[in-house]
Symmetry: C2
Subunit: 397 residues, 2 copies
């Protein structure tokens, strides 16, 4: 019998308890012994199926040697950070879906875990139930990873899908997402690209082996996205998707950002709709690999946490590949990356051609929408400085 | 310094040597020490970059205690089976991309590996460079896996893509695939579904935990597929794809088969084109997850082998989840599975309605093409026995 504790009993915490109970047979077959939730840390006691497991005193968990793994589902940094450190220091493995904590403090917590000869695992922090961090670090371990990008936030992808399918404005699609429970009452972290930003930081940390400071990563969401651009893009054979993207640069260089992109409709990632997520990893040997599935939700995310619990118990915590260096140097401004750019301007084709030379016209209906040749974001800004720019997005091909 | 041997120097074997050399830096960073190819087993000595590593005597590898991992890239069963057993018995880890050997003898070889406290890993045997076996067994370990299906053969997917895009007949598309090096001179294993069949057996073994006998798995390829059906399907919003599919049934029951299917064009797997592969895994907690990428090729497949080499060296070989029971009982005829069926008959809509009641008509141009309501393959055969059936395929929705 292996005993674990869950910190927090929100959506993911409840899901972890459910998966442990409902899939007990599968889990026992693979672990060789049963898995049991021994304690659940809560702030306020509540009636329900887990009532007799509840405690509001973390010390009871910290000092219980029978508890070998702690699943942190509190979220945020403060209490989660504190309890994670204490659990690791007490020699317990810690598993989490907390992307903010991993993006900000992951490097330090991994180092602490290594010193204590335990694991700190966080597969569920990116892509919910989609396996991506383990495949990236293990199955693609013989690759030099050159780029990672993806649809990392289900809420914004749902909103974009509604805008494309029903011609809804952003604000209406957001309200619809809230009504369906896909978006929080305060949707800032989702729609402003912050959630996707934390996830691309974690992916970049693992892919390139050095800490990315989330504060340096430019994050642009979809709250200012115009339905008009979505429609022009669609008529021209593109889909607008919010992507997190991280690119390896020469030496220890690397860059990352979050922004809406135009993607050709025949690209597999262009067909990722609703609340689904997809992450593309480009390795120098394997080429592009894509991982697709439900990026959020109680059971998908919880099942990824429980798989990490099982992984902790079976694997050596000494594995070097899950971890990265604390050094932040080498981060470069993503404005230097070359791509084609989409522009919509209040102005004529002549204005566009004066600024950019040869362009591909997408629309001349009152305003002018066009695609440039490949150029850096910095040049795109410079060359368009005398234009009345209504919208500008990168094209990912 | 960790030393390995490669058996065979064909496409994959050469690729393994190349990946070890070209990505030496990445590999060393993750392993903590350099990886080196010490010996290559060949039948005939040849000049080239690996000339001084070559031997034609397996004993030299078997008895060399410095060689910790053997990468078997011979293919087929006989010699590969023999050398794999001897390498495992000598206490060496073995890594392979050999799907035939794993499908037929994997259970026995895994048991031998466990007894010898070493690993037998074969991520590259399914999906080439696409991580799928590790994600299935580890990241989705907390799920009950209910179904696995996928486009498992790049050659046939290339042929189908050409038929859709250019209206080529099967025979012309096959010649094109051969000219491009995507198909062998003898393409039987690919076009008759045998290659996909071996892969779906391995996926089912791992997903359901019991041996599938490849000889019992019905395998239908695309050699008899008519361009007419591809076109009718396309006009009706479907793509024809060759799928391997394995489904969990009550108790220890399970079934598997390979056959062309109609797939709705908005499904992510319908948009997997050319030589790309994609595998969908459905877990009871995670829902459907898809893995997509290059399913073959020298470097993708080789990099998966090298990642397995690294995995062997870092993980405990005692992991229970990579393995399955030898018992074959519980395999049921896939004819019992319910799906809609596509038919093209020489006959009228009245004939179709007499046989199946309500049908969805796709074409009445000389012949009649239609979709039935969901029914078993057995019933589809029974109800159509008085029809002049020109084509019949399942629809996967």
């Amino acid at each position: 019998m292996i005993q674990i504790a869950i910190l927090g009993l929100g959506t993911v915490g409840t899901g972890v308890a459910r998966v442990v109970a409902e899939n007990a047979k599968q889990i026992e077959r693979k672990l060789g012994e049963p898995l049991q939730v021994k304690a659940v840390l809560v702030r306020h006691f509540k009636d329900g199926p887990y009532r007799q497991l509840m405690t509001d005193d973390f010390k009871k968990i910290e000092e219980d040697d029978a508890i070998r793994v702690v699943v942190e589902t509190i979220g945020g940094v403060e209490a989660a950070y504190e309890y994670t450190k204490r659990a690791l220091a007490a020699g317990k493995h810690v598993v989490t879906a907390n992307k903010q904590l991993v993006a900000e403090k992951g490097c330090e917590l991994l180092a602490l875990a290594r010193r204590k000869n335990v694991s700190y695992l966080f597969e569920a922090s990116v892509g919910g139930g989609i396996p991506v961090l383990h495949p990236l670090t293990q199955c693609m371990a013989a690759n030099r990873i050159d780029e990672v990008y993806g649809i990392l936030n289900g809420t914004t992808n749902y909103i974009l899908t509604r805008m494309v399918r029903t011609g809804a404005f952003f604000s209406d699609a957001l309200r619809e997402a809230q009504a369906k429970g896909y978006a929080e009452a305060d949707p800032t972290a989702d729609v402003e690209g912050i959630d996707a930003g934390r996830k691309i930081c974690i992916l970049a940390d693992l892919a390139f082996g050095r800490q990315l400071n989330p504060e340096k990563v430019p994050m642009e969401g979809i709250s200012k996205l115009s339905l008009r651009d979505v429609k022009i893009a669609q008529r021209a054979g593109y889909r607008v998707k919010l992507l997190g993207r991280a690119v390896r640069l020469p030496g220890v260089g690397r860059t990352a950002y979050v922004a809406p992109h135009l993607i050709p409709e025949e690209s597999p990632i262009a067909n990722v709709e609703d609340v689904f997520n997809a992450i593309v990893v480009r390795g120098n040997a394997t080429g592009e690999v894509m991982f697709y599935g439900r990026g959020a939700g109680e059971l998908p995310t919880a099942s990824a946490c429980v798989a990490d619990v099982m992984e902790c118990l079976q694997s050596s915590p000494k594995r070097e590949e899950i971890g990265w260096l604390a050094e932040e140097e080498g981060f470069e401004d993503p404005a230097e990356l070359l791509t084609r750019h989409y522009f919509r301007i209040e102005g004529s084709l002549t204005d566009a051609a004066m600024a950019f030379g040869q362009v591909e016209v997408l629309s001349e209906d009152g305003e002018t929408a066009f695609l440039t040749e490949p150029l850096s974001g910095a040049d795109a800004a410079k060359q368009s400085r005398f234009l009345n720019v209504l919208a500008c997005m990168r094209v990912l091909e």
